[in-house]
C-alpha cells in the first residue's frame, strides 16, 4: 500500500463522516486552543516587555551608593575602571521645576543625563536625536522630551516639536529630540538635559543621583548585582553594616524573573485546562474510531480478502485518527490565536503595562505550531492505536459476513 493510497483512503473516510468528525475533535480543538492562547500570550507579554524596556534592558543594572560624601563624575570614571563586567556606566541627576512651552506648563521629572544614557537605557527616539557629547561639554541649553512631556506641553504626543523652545526656571532650552515614553520612567512626562547643564543651571551641584550600567553580553546577570554592591562598598570604604543600608544594585533580570513567576501560575492553569481537554478529546477520538471500525467491519474483511495486510489496516486507521487530531489541532490553532487577541486586553491590564507602552500583541511562533503538530500526532497515535489494532486483528471470514 502506497502513501498516496493511504492518504486517499483517509481523505474519503473523513469526508464521509464530516459532521461526526467535527464534533469528535472538539476536545482536541479546545485543548490546542488553550495551548496556543497560552503560548501566544506569554510570548506577547515577553515581547512587549522587551519592547517596553528596550533590547538592552535585560543587561541593564541600576545601582548606587550613598557614602558620607557626594558621588561625582570622577567617581563614575573610577568605578568604570573597577567594574570590567560593564560595557559602560552612565550617571543621572534629578531636578524638579516648572516646565513651560509657549502655552502650557507642567511639573514633571527633569533629569540630567550623560550622552551614553541613550545607549545604556535603550532609549528609542521618535524625533530628532538624543543629547550629544558636545552638548555635555559645552553645557548647551538643549532638551530632549519624552512623549509624555510632549503631550503635557503641546497637547498631543505626536506633535512635531524639534526646534521649539521650552523654558525651565526662566532659562530657555531648545528641543532637539523626542523619545518614546516607557512605563519604567512613569507617564507624567520627563525632560532630559545634559548632565552639565542640569548641574550648573538647575541643581547647582555636580552630585550624581543614580548610576546605570550596561553589562557586557557575556556577563553573569545572576551574580552581577552582588559583585557590583561589593565593589561599591569597597570603593567608598563602607563598613558591612553601612553597605547593607546604603548600597543597592538592581537588575532588570529580576523584574523579568518576577514576571515569569506570575506567568508560570497562569501557564500551569492553562496547561491543566489543555491536558484535560486533550485527554478527553483523545478519548473522544478513540470512541469515534471504535465506532468507525465497527461500522466498517465488512469493508475491513473485504480489504483483507483482497490482500490487505494487517499492517495496511493498522496504518489506514492510525492515519485516520492522526488526521482527525491534526484537523482539530488546526482549528484549535486558529481559535487559540483569535482567543489570545481577546485575552490580551485582560492580561494587559493585569500586568499593569502602561497605557502609553507598546500594545500587548499575541505572538505566534513556528515553535508552538510545531509543538501542537507534535501533540496532535501523539494523541492520534496514542488513542488511535487500540482501534486500529482491533481493526487489523479482525478475522476476515467473520468480518465479511458481519451484518
Amino acid at each position: 500500500m502506497r502513501i498516496r493510497d493511504l492518504v486517499w483512503e483517509t481523505g474519503s473516510a473523513l469526508d464521509a463522516n464530516r459532521g461526526r468528525s467535527l464534533l469528535t475533535v472538539l476536545g482536541i480543538v479546545i485543548g490546542i486552543a488553550a495551548v496556543i492562547a497560552m503560548t501566544a500570550l506569554i510570548g506577547g507579554v515577553k515581547q512587549s516587555l522587551v519592547g517596553e524596556l528596550g533590547l538592552n534592558q535585560a543587561r541593564m543594572v541600576d545601582f548606587f551608593a550613598w557614602p558620607e560624601r557626594e558621588v561625582t563624575l570622577d567617581d563614575l570614571k573610577n568605578l568604570e575602571e573597577r567594574m570590567p563586567e560593564y560595557e559602560c556606566l552612565t550617571a543621572t541627576s534629578y531636578a524638579n521645576g516648572e516646565v513651560k512651552s509657549e502655552t502650557k506648563t507642567f511639573s514633571g521629572t527633569i533629569m540630567g543625563v550623560l550622552p551614553n544614557y541613550e545607549r545604556v537605557m535603550g532609549v528609542k527616539m521618535t524625533q530628532g536625536s538624543f543629547i550629544k557629547d558636545h552638548d555635555q561639554d559645552s553645557v548647551a541649553l538643549v532638551a530632549v522630551l519624552d512623549q509624555g512631556a510632549v503631550k503635557q506641553l503641546y497637547g498631543s504626543p505626536d506633535e512635531q516639536v524639534v526646534g521649539r523652545t521650552i523654558s525651565i526656571s526662566n532659562v530657555s532650552y531648545s528641543v532637539v529630540g523626542v523619545s518614546e515614553s516607557t512605563s519604567y520612567m512613569g507617564n507624567g512626562g520627563t525632560v532630559y538635559l545634559p548632565f552639565s547643564t542640569c548641574a550648573s543651571r538647575l541643581t547647582g551641584d555636580w552630585g550624581i543621583g543614580s548610576i546605570n550600567g550596561l553589562a557586557r553580553e557575556d556577563a553573569d546577570m545572576s551574580t552581577i548585582a552582588e559583585t557590583t554592591m561589593q565593589t561599591l562598598a569597597d570603593y567608598f570604604q563602607m563598613s558591612e553594616d553601612q553597605a547593607k543600608e546604603d548600597v543597592y544594585a538592581y537588575t532588570m533580570q529580576s523584574v523579568i524573573d518576577e514576571l515569569e513567576t506570575t506567568m508560570a501560575s497562569f501557564q500551569l492553569l492553562m496547561t491543566a485546562v489543555a491536558s484535560i481537554s486533550l485527554v478527553v478529546g483523545g478519548i473522544g477520538i478513540m470512541n469515534m474510531m471504535l465506532t468507525n471500525v465497527t461500522e466498517r467491519i465488512r469493508e475491513i474483511g473485504l480489504r483483507k480478502a483482497l490482500g490487505a495486510r494487517s499492517s495496511d489496516i493498522t496504518k489506514q486507521f492510525l492515519l485516520e485518527s492522526v488526521c482527525l487530531c491534526l484537523a482539530g489541532g488546526f482549528i484549535g490553532v486558529v481559535l487559540g490565536y483569535l482567543g489570545s487577541f481577546a485575552l490580551t486586553g485582560v492580561a494587559g491590564s493585569m500586568m499593569e503595562l502602561g497605557a502609553t507602552s507598546a500594545p500587548l500583541r499575541p505572538m505566534i511562533d513556528v515553535k508552538s505550531v510545531a509543538m501542537v503538530t507534535g501533540i496532535c500526532i501523539l494523541i492520534g497515535v496514542l488513542f488511535g492505536y487500540y482501534p486500529a489494532r482491533r481493526a487489523a486483528r479482525l478475522d476476515p471470514v467473520e468480518s465479511l459476513h458481519y451484518q
Binding site: R2, L302, A305, L306, G307, S310, V397, L400
Partner: protein, 242 residues
C-alpha cells in the same frame, strides 16, 4: 506443471461455545488450469468453509493445500495476504463493493494491495471491466447506483484485475433473478474460454450446468458424480435442498 489447486485430506473443525463442528472431513480435490469447476451442496454442507480454505482466508485443521504448487501452510500472514492480492480473486454473493466509491475505484482496490504502480491501475481496471462487458458510461458511477447484475459484474472485474490464478465465487448468483444470474454465469463462461480458472460454489443445480465439472459436497465430504447419483436414487428430492 502443478495443478492450480491441490488439496489433500483437508479437515476443518470449528471450535465454538456450542461444541465442535466438523465442517470438512478429509476433502481431496484438484483443479487444473483453465477449468471451470462447480462445487455443489446443500446449505451447511461445508461449501463456504471449503471456499475460505481455497481463498487462504481460513486455515485447515489438518491436511495440505498447495496453490500453484506452493504449500500455503508454510506461509506467514503477510505472505498469505500477498497471495490473496495477486493470485486469488473473490466474488461474493452480496457483491461487497465499497458503496460510495466509483466503479473504477472499486475495481482498482486489489491493485492498492498488490503494489501495482499507480499509473497502470486505471488501464488494468478498464481492461477488466471491458471483459465483463460493463458499458463505459458506468465507470464513474458510484457502485451503489448500479443494478444487482451490474454490481456483480463489477465484483467479477475486481476479482479479475490482478490476473489471478483462480477466481473463487461463493454463490455469485444467489441474490440475482434467473435472467441476470445467467448473464453473470455467461460472463464466467466467457472468462473460462479465455483461459481463466474458476471455482464456483452453489446449491443450485441449474447454475452447475454452466460448469465443466461439478463436485458434490455433503456433510463435509466430497462425492463423485456416481456416489451423488446413487444418493439421489435413494433419496429423491434432496438435491433441491437450499
Amino acid at each position: 506443471m502443478p495443478a492450480v489447486i491441490d488439496i489433500r485430506g483437508v479437515h476443518r473443525i470449528y471450535e465454538s461455545a456450542a461444541g465442535y463442528t466438523h465442517a470438512l472431513k478429509g476433502v481431496t480435490l484438484r483443479v487444473e488450469r483453465g477449468e471451470f469447476l462447480c462445487v455443489m451442496g446443500p446449505s451447511g454442507s461445508g461449501k463456504s468453509t471449503l471456499m475460505n480454505t481455497l481463498g487462504c482466508l481460513d486455515t485447515p485443521t489438518s491436511g495440505t493445500y498447495r496453490l500453484e504448487g506452493v504449500d500455503v501452510s508454510t506461509l506467514t500472514d503477510d505472505e498469505l495476504a500477498e497471495l490473496r492480492a495477486t493470485r486469488l480473486g473473490f466474488v461474493f454473493q452480496s457483491y461487497n463493493l465499497l458503496p460510495r466509491a466509483t466503479v473504477l475505484r472499486n475495481v482498482m482496490l486489489p491493485l492498492v494491495y498488490s503494489d501495482c504502480p499507480v499509473s497502470q491501475r486505471e488501464q488494468l481496471a478498464r481492461k477488466a471491466l471491458a471483459s465483463v462487458s460493463l458499458p463505459e458510461q458506468y465507470f464513474d458511477h458510484r457502485s451503489n447506483e448500479l443494478s444487482g447484475g451490474q454490481m456483480q459484474r463489477v465484483a467479477i472485474a475486481r476479482a479479475l484485475v490482478n490476473d489471478p490464478a483462480v477466481i473463487l465465487a461463493d454463490e455469485p448468483t444467489g441474490n440475482l433473478d434467473t435472467a441476470t444470474g445467467n448473464m453473470v454465469l455467461r460472463t464466467f463462461r466467457r472468462l473460462r474460454d479465455e483461459g481463466k480458472t474458476i471455482v464456483l460454489i452453489t446449491h443450485d443445480a441449474e447454475v452447475a450446468d454452466w460448469a465443466d465439472r461439478t463436485v458434490h459436497i455433503r456433510d463435509g465430504r466430497l462425492l463423485t458424480d456416481e456416489q451423488e447419483r446413487a444418493l439421489q436414487a435413494a433419496h429423491p428430492g434432496t438435491r433441491s435442498a437450499t
